[in-house]
């Protein structure tokens, strides 16, 4: 039973409970959270690669942008408690990217410019649930928000949507990524409030 904080009252309108997970509040801003400087990789040097399958595969920026794209509108939920509703994105589905590889692995470790990593089950990347996004709000994805391209896995807390993503390492076992190593949850389901290890 939580103690009442004397004099505290709701000031915000109730968030729609079917849209906003427990403990979250809705913001109209798009806050930026990252652990280091924003990297700026020139597009001619950019690649997206998938390793750990039966054969490695890699796309240049031109090849990546020639893949079929999807636009989508979705809600995103940051572990720091902001949720942003109806964000619009353009990207390449992970169904398309992973179809280029034969593999048996059940997990991936996504890796990014700047050394960031995050771990995800392969099942969470398939079935129209995840994208490598290069467009946001009708324009290119800005560098501070992870451009030129970031992972977009909106059904998990947003730290799983790795900014500046450069590839996936397919793995048989689930190994913690960057924030997961610092005590954040291995899976990160916002509807189950899996913020920290043990939640």
């Amino acid at each position: 039973m939580s103690p009442v904080s004397r004099g505290f009252r709701r000031k915000r309108e109730a968030a729609p409970a079917d849209r906003v997970p427990p403990g979250q509040y809705v913001t109209k801003d798009f806050p930026v959270l990252s652990a280091g400087p924003t990297p700026h990789t020139p597009l001619p040097q950019w690649t997206f690669s998938i390793s750990g399958g039966h054969q490695p595969v890699s796309w240049t920026w031109e090849e990546f942008r020639a893949l079929p794209t999807e636009t989508l509108t979705t809600d995103i939920h940051c572990v720091t408690r902001w949720s942003k509703l109806d964000t619009s994105w353009e990207g390449v589905s992970l169904d398309v990217l992973l179809a280029a590889v034969e593999y048996d692995a059940r997990y991936v470790l996504a890796f990014s410019d700047g050394g960031y990593t995050t771990n995800l089950p392969v099942a969470d990347l398939l079935g129209g649930k995840a994208w490598v996004a290069f467009g946001y709000g009708g324009g290119p994805l800005g560098a501070e928000h992870g451009g030129p391209a970031r992972l977009l896995v909106p059904h998990l807390y947003f730290w799983k949507s790795a900014k500046w993503v450069r590839g996936l390492q397919l793995r048989d076992t689930d190994v913690p990524g960057f924030w997961e190593n610092y005590g954040y949850h291995l899976y990160g389901d916002p509807w189950r409030e899996q913020r920290y290890a043990g939640d």
Binding site: P3, S5, K11, G23
Partner: protein
Amino acid sequence: MAGTAVRRRLSWQTATVGRVTDETPRVRTLWLEVPDWPGHRAGQHLDIRLTADDGYQAERAYSIASAPGEPLAITVERLDDGEVSPYLTEEARAGDQLEVRGPVGGYFVWEPGSDPGGPLLLAAGGSGVVPLRAIVRERSRTGSSVPVRLLYSSRSWEDVIYSSELELPPDGVQVTYTLTRSQPRAWQGYARRVDMQMLAEVAWPAAEQPLAYVCGPTCFVESVAAGLVGLGYPAGRVKTERFGATGQ
């Protein structure tokens, strides 16, 4: 960037507000009495949960202002459209109860001896000074002699948090202010947003292998972190923590 795996469960604990101190017209420090606080490292934050008498709850994260081993304190800036920060800065008083859980975060932390490199550069924008102040206090508390330069960007002198404490910094800690909107009469210091020239003058040269901690609003952190990289700091030596004006 390997971290130490922390796999213990973080539970909500009841905290009682102790002393409160107004740092500026918009910023207050609150000491929190938490009987089973597990301890923290300088730079970490904690989660606060408030419960209204109708059961409504709101949670936010705040940087810890105190050094490990000191009475636990947070320093909160009031955001006028916020829900939690106006309560903490205007309503809460000694004896009030709320809940905390933590500490949280393990990357933006400093411990004596944790880094084999050179001096520390701390760059703060506004209330981004809070976790950096915890680092300065931890340095003093542990007797570390690592040289520190703190570059602190504030709107005006009235907005400088911890001003009396920073006026007489410990040996080996050099504090440089820039006041971006208004300055006292006869102000001799910087009076503009942090830029490359200021960083080149204030920041340790990259050759000294400094370790940088940058905390503040997104635009401040973006510009300072990019500037430090431009001055030759390896990206992995620039730790950042950003906050947006998101109605906290």
